[in-house]
């Protein structure tokens, strides 16, 4: 029997024994609605192909149909888990075209909101990784503490996820009284809880063994597929948009950018991606405390843009013709927004450059050679948002 096998060349031989598994679009291991076509050699993945497009809602087309102000609501539906980043990118671009001067207080409120949603998004990432590894208690602890951040969102903006709180020229409303104290309280509480997560989960050897050297992204692959954000920093590329292209009041904030050091065994593995995000939560808490303590006074919206004083005629905002391109550091990476306005009531074109697309492009490379039990670990460590990738 073995003689017959030798006659076939090794390539054909290899392919004969492989099995094919098509996962998706609805599956517990997947971060969202996507299809994975895997060829497996036993339990080890030989190659994988990704198909997306299931969550295409035509966001950019919808923005072109509705008036300018409605674009804010669509921008924060770009990434439901960290809503304020889409709005922020759009507002920064449109304010460049319209030439609004943003008061310092509005800039501080925006910075607080973006750091809070970075903390809440990274906590959600911890929940996904804990779920993929089967640490059930960790999920409940992190979700319970994330509620504190969502309560802060509701206290300030009235909504827990899709805030639609930013406006072109500032923010919708001033800070509710008691918000600043609650932010400081939340910072202290979450920092104490991170110590508890570490004892329970991060320093646990089984977690280390499940994530070390799993789904390694080499710096070359990260550069090749254009990875940005925590995924790229975990692979050793220290690029952070808040440092490289400063916006809001980040130049005056001092925070360091954690980079993957390979404590889990290899630089750029799932363990590094988890640790980088954990350290970024610590950094964001530092920024939040600094912002909350040094909250400037003044009005929260640049004068002349208030909507309350708008009459039925001036409801539709008129943005002068022009073009702008803004980059921000969202919780998943570099989020860019390219706005073109032809002076009319509706935006001519709003285009979002999204970080999850690069993570999806890196997947086929990363999936080679992992066990299928590690598939959920790799997919959740990359923190891919399909809603953002398909727009």
């Amino acid at each position: 029997m073995s003689m017959a096998k030798e006659s076939r060349n090794s390539e054909e031989l290899m392919l004969a024994d492989l099995s094919h598994w098509e996962i998706g679009p609805y599956h517990g291991a997947l971060p969202g609605q996507m299809c994975l076509r895997l060829t497996l050699d036993g339990e080890v993945v030989v190659s994988g192909k990704v198909e997306t497009g299931f969550l295409h809602r035509g966001l950019e087309k919808a923005i072109e149909i509705h008036p300018w102000r409605a674009a804010i609501t669509y921008a924060d539906h770009l990434d439901p888990e960290a809503a304020v980043f889409g709005e922020l990118a759009l507002c920064l671009a449109v304010e460049q075209i319209a030439g609004y001067q943003i008061p310092a207080r509005a800039v501080a409120i925006r910075a607080i909101l973006s750091e809070l949603s970075r903390v809440s998004a990274h906590m959600l990432h911890m929940v996904k990784v804990a779920n993929s590894v089967g640490a059930e208690t960790m999920i409940h602890y992190v979700l319970r503490d994330r509620e504190r951040v969502l309560d802060l969102f509701e206290l300030l903006t009235g909504a827990r996820f899709s805030l639609s709180f930013l406006r072109f020229g500032g923010v919708r409303n001033d800070v509710t009284e008691g918000f600043i104290e609650r932010v400081l309280e939340a910072c202290v509480l979450i920092r104490a809880r991170i110590k508890e997560y570490n004892d329970l989960f991060t320093f646990n050897r089984t977690f280390l063994k499940r994530t070390s050297k799993v789904g390694v992204i080499t710096p070359e692959l990260a550069k090749k597929t254009g990875l940005t954000g925590p995924n790229a920093r975990a692979s050793g590329l220290p690029m952070d948009v808040r440092r490289a292209f400063p916006y809001l009041n980040y130049p005056s904030q001092d925070f360091d950018v954690p980079v993957g050091r390979g404590e889990g065994g290899a630089v750029g593995d799932a363990h590094d991606r988890f640790l980088v995000r954990l350290r970024e939560i610590g950094e964001s808490l530092g920024i939040l405390r600094h912002l909350a303590e040094s909250m400037p006074a003044g009005d929260f919206l640049c004068p002349g843009v208030e909507l309350d004083a708008a009459t039925p005629e001036t409801v539709a905002l008129q943005i002068p013709p022009g073009e702008a391109y803004a980059r921000i550091e969202s919780s998943r990476g570099l989020l860019s927004c390219h706005v073109i306005s032809d002076g009319g009531e509706r935006p001519a074109r709003v285009q979002f450059g999204v970080p999850s697309v690069a993570a999806l492009a890196a997947l086929p490379e990363v999936l080679k050679g992992i066990w299928i039990e590690d598939l959920p670990v790799v997919l959740s460590s990359l923190d891919i948002s399909l809603a953002e990738a398909d727009r």
């Binding site: 497009g53 295409h56 460049q96 254009g226 860019s336 390219h338 001519a348 074109r349 697309v357």
Partner: protein, 166 residues
């Protein structure tokens, strides 16, 4: 070496290709150069080959319809700053395909962006050897082809959004 010197350097490398310049506003203004669609491929190869500029990050490919011409903007992040290249092409009639040279072999990160604009704007990306790249149609294209493709490409201005939104 700021962005403008990069553009002049490129202009010298492939004479007469960048016929106009401009600047996109933003927290970090992005100078860009208008490029003639035909020689875009040669310019991009020269850019990729040039080690001194080392523009190894293609950050974003943004396509927009201005008037009836499709305008493709390539945003680059080089070692010393960011710049952009912009080219336009006019489709023969509103629902026709348009062809652009691909850059995915030089910058692999361009592949998903090109697929996205191919499906939504109807841009065929032509490989280095002149052969049109066949992309596996994702759901958006399949949905469009299945229900009488005559409605055109979603993000073009002549595409009427029907459905029950109102």
């Amino acid at each position: 070496m700021d962005a403008n010197t990069i553009l002049t350097k490129l202009n010298r490398a492939v004479p007469g290709v960048i016929f106009d310049r401009g600047r996109i506003a933003g927290p970090e203004p992005v100078p860009f150069g208008w490029v003639d669609g035909k020689s875009l491929r040669r310019l991009v190869e020269a850019l990729r080959a040039d080690q001194e500029i080392s523009a190894d990050h293609l950050e974003n490919i943004s396509v927009a319809q201005v008037g009836d011409a499709l305008m493709v903007t390539y945003f680059f992040r080089a070692a010393h700053g960011c710049f952009a290249l912009r080219a336009t092409a006019v489709p023969a009639e509103p629902n026709a395909w348009v062809s652009f040279p691909t850059v995915r072999d030089l910058w692999p990160m361009a592949a998903p962006m090109e697929n996205y604009s191919c499906e939504l704007f109807g841009i065929r990306f032509v490989g280095a050897d002149g052969v049109e790249l066949e992309i596996e149609a994702s759901l958006v294209l399949k949905a469009k082809d299945s229900e009488a493709g005559s409605r055109g490409f979603p993000l073009r201005k002549n595409f009427v959004v029907g459905g029950s939104s109102s």
